[in-house]
């Protein structure tokens, strides 16, 4: 039976359902990965037994000396990544994997409605969105240059590129806001048509991700001022970079399917 789409309720239902599903999937993966990891603790109980201590630490010391310097902070010895990769990075990719499902489900629904002719784009400004795309690509470039700068211990350039990224991200949100206002002045709202619902849901979620990225970027900048990042310890910047580039990738798709293919 064909579904009715008058109020765009199906689109909202798909979005909510996908969000719930992706949350469950991400939670399940995280649970499995971190339980697996707990069983493979590098610094285990046996190393620190009284028997090992009586042995003059001959067992414990070689094991502990194998622990990388990079995982020793503030006198606390942490287990190195047993999966052979950074936990932060793995966690971010797990999150991004759920995000891919979320956004591609939204995009898939949009493409399906376009394919059957129920959804017709209205009053889109291709040139303005092209400028927005250029701005977002520039911000991806400055983020990757910021990572490059901190890895080369160039703190001045690092801060400069982070600042540039914040300004570019804010400019993108400004352009997006202007376009929303322009569309609303033409009577296109989230409830005016299926296109309106789809457009505002997709660009709204993307914009929300950009805003979250800007908050994160600002915190990264504050940490950069404190000198928290060094050539050996910059995983925080790399993890943020993954998130920001993903937001860029999502926009590349949205730009093509919403603005270019009309």
């Amino acid at each position: 039976m064909a579904l009715t789409l008058e109020s765009g309720a199906l689109f909202a239902l798909l979005a909510g359902g996908t969000l719930l599903l992706t949350g469950l999937v991400a939670g399940g993966i995280a649970f499995l990965v971190f339980n697996l990891d707990r069983e493979r603790r590098y610094v285990d109980e046996s190393v620190l037994t009284p028997a090992a201590a009586a042995d003059g630490g001959s067992v414990a010391l070689p094991r502990l000396s194998a622990v990388s310097e990079s995982v020793i902070h503030s006198g606390v010895v942490e287990a190195p990544p047993s999966l052979g990769m950074s936990h932060n990075k793995l966690g971010m990719w797990t999150f991004l994997s759920s995000e891919i499902m979320f956004f591609t489900a939204l995009i898939g629904a949009y493409v399906a409605f376009r394919a059957i002719g129920d959804l017709v784009p209205e009053h889109l400004n291709v040139v303005l969105s092209g400028v927005g795309t250029f701005v977002l690509i520039c911000s991806s470039f400055t983020v990757v240059l910021a990572l490059d700068a901190v890895q080369e211990n160039n703190q001045q350039n690092f801060v400069f590129y982070l600042l540039g990224s914040i300004l570019l991200g804010a400019a993108f949100i400004g352009i997006q806001g202007y376009e929303w206002a322009e569309l609303m002045s033409h009577g296109v709202t989230a409830t005016s048509s299926l296109f309106g619902t789809a457009f505002f849901v997709m660009t709204g979620f993307h914009g929300l991700h950009v805003i979250i990225g800007l908050v994160w970027l600002t915190l990264t900048l504050l940490r950069a001022f404190r000198g928290d990042f060094t050539p050996k310890d910059n995983m925080g910047v790399e993890t943020f970079g993954l998130y920001w580039h993903f937001v860029d990738v999502v926009w590349i798709v949205l730009f093509t399917i919403i603005y270019l293919i009309q």
Partner: protein, 98 residues
């Protein structure tokens, strides 16, 4: 594979990033030109646009997100959700057409 894929360009690192940036901007410009100037018949326009869009995604993912040279697990995590989405799209289109 190394978790230090981002360090592979150390020393002369900005070169690939700048080249990728120029490529991304150039492809975006070509996309807009194709849409605004209508060199290609309207019904065939989605084909080059989708191809160019995938090219841009591949460049960002491989070089800016460092999938190129990093642990293959991350690439799988990037690609695995896609078939599920295609499944949703197919189910939705079938349901709407029946």
């Amino acid at each position: 594979m190394s978790d230090q894929a981002t360090h592979q360009y150390s020393g002369h690192s900005k070169r690939p990033y700048t080249r990728i940036f120029v490529a991304l901007v150039a492809v975006t410009f070509v996309e807009m030109l194709l849409t605004l100037q209508q060199f290609i018949p309207h019904e065939f326009l989605p084909i080059p646009l989708v191809i160019l869009s995938f090219a841009k995604i591949a460049l960002v993912a491989m070089y800016y997100m460092h999938l190129y040279g990093d642990n293959k697990l991350f690439t799988y995590m990037f690609l695995v959700p896609v078939p599920f989405v295609l499944l949703i799209m197919a189910a939705l289109i079938i349901d709407l057409l029946v």
